[in-house]
Symmetry: C2
Subunit: 381 residues, 2 copies
């Protein structure tokens, strides 16, 4: 990571992570106040002078005006579309609404679609940007912690269908990511924690030092000090490293799914009811299960599973299936959901397992019987 | 071009054009009877053993059973979806139907979507293949001449919206193209001629010898002799060359739009009513106009325009705007349609002009007043 110094208004603490993807290379700026300076950052990088902003009804009243003002100041003609908040917005119907609005705004190849919001808005707007005229420029302004450390970086876009989550989409890298860390102040505590699960994930995958740093510094990170910017920058750098090595998820990128195979099954079991479980909470429980399962397979020490669970619990994240409110389906049903997950190849179960803190790896051939008996043991059945 | 010899059943006349796009490289096979041998050609190249076929109601009764039989023989589990024929099928609604069917068939990354039909089916099915799970394998079995020589090669996919044609789509290269030349026997004379306009286009862009060859050999080519296979192979090779040089149409690929700026305006003026004008007919008139306009700008000799018009007329294609049945809008309206065409960059008119037969080039800065007075002169107003 390099501290950037291109703008005089830029705060000392601001970070720049460059994602070196050749023709598709881009910058991620991380720091407070970026929404109010978006116009300048965009015009210094993109040729077009039109933009179509997509946002949601929670984020719009907080940040849309500041963004529009900044774009106008820098001579970008912008229109905006405010959609309902929540996972249901990642649908084909809303994709149609977004693409229609982008085309009506006469966005051409060099103009931009701007996503202002969390991962839902980023995934939907990015998909639209990827298909309008077979691809127009795309700027991510992630406002949730999860979006800042995960979904806004790497180019995966998508929507959900009745067959499952994220089943339609394209790879379409953004041309710029502006992670305004001040915007996180209005995020609910629960959503912040959920995003934190993904931050911790990078430590657990292959950065044991970062995980140890988080164990020590999570409190100021939650409170919003320079530790927050630091942690987000490290997370973005980690995601960037993986994406650069494996842009289209043919191999190493799968490591980012640590905790997600179990997590997705739990999300599906709650019908994606965010009152019961949000994605990051599922990932939190899923990561603990992945460590416990790895220890059960004699791959990792049980102490590591204990340490992971302890830390996630201390920040207030759920770590056990029975913390999920409401009735949960029987274990066989959970396993079905795992088998239906798109990370299944030719019928075999693919899992991210681990040999310790920061030592995750892709296991291609996990017998479902092992998973079943492990989960049944966990649930005291 | 190389004559392939991998299969004993393969006819002497069969051609193979390889499109060397690195990771996305693929073969185009051209010859009679390929639909009946599709299973073997697919299994020898693709890993997956499932397929979802998309076709239209004209093509299905003619070729679907033969395709399904061949797939079954080679152990590919296939389902099919038959859609209405015609340009209106390239819509978001039909895209939703196709993606739903593909997901229901549990097509995974290595399985294939197969397009069996003309350019409409190819563009729609290819778009679906490009977005399901962010991209699954895609096999083109083009059955119209236009699809065999143009739309099935190069990876452009898309659908139409109320804002214009092909405004939503992705670049998604096929993994295999099977151009069964025997299927062209059931194509209407009119559709065959329309496809022929695109064949002649390759000669006019940069292969004067090919154009001269077509002037001599168009009759046996229409009748279905080895000249047909030869001409299709040359066209595919020409398209492949351009695509390999400029996969995403940032430069040279624009040459393929020779005749298309005028052509699209004429299509729009007839509301894409295929009873009045089909795409290739618009291209035929458009190419003649491009040569005449180039001669008017003193770029090309008027003799070339005469020669182009003479040849296209002799095969039975329209070459003048007033051959289009029904009322045509005033010239200013046509110009509006040209300006709205997506090949407009930053407001300026981009045209493919020419210095002679086989000497097309991209002109970025054509004043619309020149176009207006040229067209008004043509239309005797
Ligand atoms: N593309 C990828 O690589 C990738 C990676 C991980 C997750 N995702 C996707 O991301 C989505 C989850 O993202 P998310 O957790 O950001 O969900 P989200 O977009 O629904 O945001 C969570 C909630 O926070 C609100 N919000 C966002 N920013 C706010 C702010 N600054 N102040 C107040 N409220 C704010 C939103 O309105 C929403 O209600 C899922 O759909 C998931 O599939 C994508
Ligand atoms: N993707 C590209 O690069 C590209 C390039 C050029 C054109 N296109 C698109 O292609 C489309 C036009 O393609 P098209 O001309 O093939 O149109 P089409 O698919 O509508 O086919 C023309 C007609 O012929 C019928 N047909 C096709 N094969 C037949 C056969 N063997 N026997 C009997 N009937 C048959 C079809 O049912 C249809 O009625 C347009 O939508 C255009 O935008 C795409
Ligand atoms: Zn996640
Ligand atoms: Zn064409």
């Amino acid at each position: 990571m390099k501290v950037s110094s291109r703008s005089s208004e830029r705060s000392e603490a601001e970070r720049l992570v460059h994602v070196p993807l050749g023709e598709r290379a881009y910058d991620i700026l991380i720091g407070p106040g970026l929404i109010g300076r978006a116009g300048g950052e965009i015009t210094s990088r993109l040729k077009g002078r039109r933009a179509a902003i997509v946002t949601d009804e929670n984020v719009a009243p907080l940040y849309l005006e500041a963004l529009m003002d900044s774009l106008q100041t820098d001579g970008i003609e912008a229109v905006s579309l405010t959609l309902p908040a929540g996972e249901k917005t990642k649908s084909l119907e809303h994709l149609a609404t977004v693409t229609d609005m982008v085309l009506a705004a006469r966005i051409e190849r060099n103009d931009a679609v701007i996503a202002l919001g969390g991962g839902v808005i980023g995934d939907l707007a990015g998909f639209a940007a990827g298909i309008v005229r077979r691809g127009v420029r795309f700027v991510q302004i992630p406002t949730s912690l999860l979006a800042q450390v995960d979904s806004s970086v790497g180019g995966k876009t998508g929507i959900n269908t009745r067959h499952g989550k994220n089943l339609l989409g394209v790879f379409h890298q953004p041309d710029l990511v502006l992670a305004d860390t001040a915007a996180l102040d209005t995020l609910s505590e629960r959503e912040f924690r959920a995003g934190y699960a993904e931050v911790a994930k990078y430590g657990l995958i292959d950065q044991p030092d970062f995980f140890a740093w988080l164990e020590k510094n999570w409190k100021p990170m939650f409170a919003g000090g320079p530790e927050r910017i630091e942690a987000i920058a490290i997370a973005c750098q980690a995601k960037s490293d993986v994406v650069v090595e494996d842009e289209r998820e043919n191999g190493r990128r799968a490591l980012l799914n640590l905790g997600h195979t179990f997590g997705h099954a739990l999300e599906a079991a709650t019908q994606y009811d965010s009152a019961r479980l949000v994605h990051g909470e599922g990932v939190s429980i899923g990561m603990v299960l992945a460590y416990q399962f790895s220890s059960r397979l004699n791959l990792a020490s049980p102490d590591d599973a204990v340490r992971v669970e302890k830390h996630l619990k201390s920040v207030g994240l759920p770590t056990r299936i029975d913390e999920i409110p409401g009735e949960m389906p029987p274990t066989e049903k959970l396993l079905d959901a795992i088998a239906q997950d798109k990370k299944v190849k030719g019928g075999k179960l693919t899992f991210i397992l681990t040999r310790g803190i920061g030592e995750a790896f892709v296991a291609d051939d996990v017998p479902s019987s092992e998973v079943l008996s492990f989960l049944e043991g966990k649930r005291g059945k």
